[in-house]
Symmetry: C2
């Protein structure tokens, strides 16, 4: 049973937690899985606010090991222990994430009854890191101060399905022909009548895709990797007048994020990871929309259908 | 300049952060210092809520290395770097705290321009770990599942001071006698008149004391260590009908906390670290007040004069 893919941004602050928001963390529901993308400090409380059960998360993807993207993780794992988790959890992240977490767990006496499967990344090239019948996840190597990956999540194309409402209204279509309908064939009845496939069957739903790119310098090489995604989340820590500062600190401007979105022909661009120096975030929107009109600000805790 | 000692409880949850509160963290202002006691996840946001500047904290005391008492610390230190801290910070905590933090900082690329002075504790006996002209801090060894200390903070007795209002109203008391007044002596005027010391001088202000005891099994051996403190914060994770569970998990009941408070003849007892199984915290108050009437529930983010 596939539900509609959905993104819930839990936090999009850069660096320091504030009263009104936490650093980077997102929940992506896609391909029958609930996935956590980055896990800044305070992620657990945000999950509680949106009513997401911690236990439903099966896969965690960490972009890089800066604290504002991973310091919520030790606490989440500790909570799993207290909540009695037994199902394994998959953690994807830069090489070193296992050493960091296991050192913490050892020193804090955080034992567990469940398995953590670490998938440590160190390639500078895009890799397929998860692949099943419903979903593919690929890394999007980014250019930050330390090793950092974005992630692209792509649904698999679903096969054609039966137009059951139509078929049940026609007593003269034997079930033996359903297989042909699913294969895309028109069907010929004993009476000689022809029923075109688009009437008896339905196109498999268009697969959706989402890409998360935080943190990174302006990096045109990611354009083919995020090409055509329905939604691209791309950091824009600064406005373009501070592009030298952005480059120095390994970040992008809103204008640069919009250039990536435009060149990659994505459906929508969501900005995030704003520097605290900008109290009014609409300045990012104004700058980016000059290049790519379908740009939006993130809205924390509000589920967004992809 | 000594300000009135003040306690601000930032969080008192046990274990898992909730929407309405964070795990253990407190700010104690005493002896001219701002000190952080424990640092659960979310401490930074609570500090922002009460308007405390991170930079003012000079000393951090961690009771033990369970996540709900220290998982906010890596993020706080990372913020210090971003905020440009240069003054050293003193961190007191169980042996292993340096390895844990430095492993995290190394793997997350968290460099710093300021010094962290680690004071690692491993004694099972009470020690004086800080001592200056205004303040003494002693460990209160607790009995938990892992090595754990409470802390007792005691102001030093201030010397006697001059009753300036009185002295300025008397032109016949030469300043040369002020030293005698400060030493507690009565003074004899040239006229032969005697001015008792309690008129010309004032008793040094009564020193205040505070003890923090979380997490621990019922441990009567702490009574002499927290004897007579103005305020005792003592955990009461459970009610007394679950005292076996409390003992098994290394915690206390409200009744047990009250027995400690009564035997130690403290001024006030504040309970905390409640298990999430109790939605209404007043049950703890009811149970403890049967033994020790001056018991109170913690109130997060509200400064309390000691």
């Amino acid at each position: 049973m596939r539900t509609k893919p959905q993104l819930t941004i839990l936090g999009y602050n850069s660096a320091i937690p504030t009263i009104n928001g936490i650093p980077s963390a997102q929940i992506l529901e896609m391909g029958g899985k609930m996935m956590l993308i980055d896990c800044g400090e305070g992620t657990q409380v945000q999950l509680r606010k949106v009513g997401i059960k911690f236990s439903k998360i099966s896969h965690i993807f960490i972009s890089h090991l800066h604290g504002d993207h991973c310091f919520g993780l030790p606490g989440l794992i500790a909570s799993y222990r207290l909540l009695g988790r037994v199902t394994p959890i998959e953690i994807y992240g830069p090489k070193g994430i296992e050493q960091m977490l296991e050192t913490i767990f050892k020193l804090t006496g955080t034992t567990r009854e469940f398995t953590i499967n670490y998938h440590e990344l160190q390639s500078s090239k895009s890799e397929i890191i998860y692949d099943d019948v419903l979903l593919k996840v690929e890394t999007v190597p980014l250019d930050h101060r330390i090793y950092c990956n974005g992630y692209r999540f792509t649904e698999k194309k679903l096969p054609r399905s039966l137009n059951l409402e139509y078929l049940q209204s026609r007593a003269d279509i034997p079930k033996e022909l359903y297989h042909d309908i699913l294969e895309g064939k028109d069907i010929v009845l004993l009476s000689g009548g022809l029923i075109p496939n688009h009437v008896a069957g339905m196109e498999g739903k268009k697969p959706k895709s989402y890409a998360y790119c935080s943190d990174t310098r302006f990096l045109p090489s990611i354009v083919p990797l995020v090409k055509g995604v329905d939604i691209l989340y791309h950091e824009s820590t600064f406005l373009h007048d501070l592009r030298e500062m952005a480059d120095y600190t390994g970040h992008s401007s809103a204008r640069e994020a919009a250039i990536i979105a435009k060149d990659a022909e994505v459906g929508k661009l969501i900005l995030g990871h704003f520097s605290n120096r900008y109290p009014d975030k609409s300045v990012f929107l104004d700058e980016a929309r000059e290049i790519f009109p379908e740009t939006y600000l993130p809205e924390a805790l509000v589920p967004l259908e992809i």
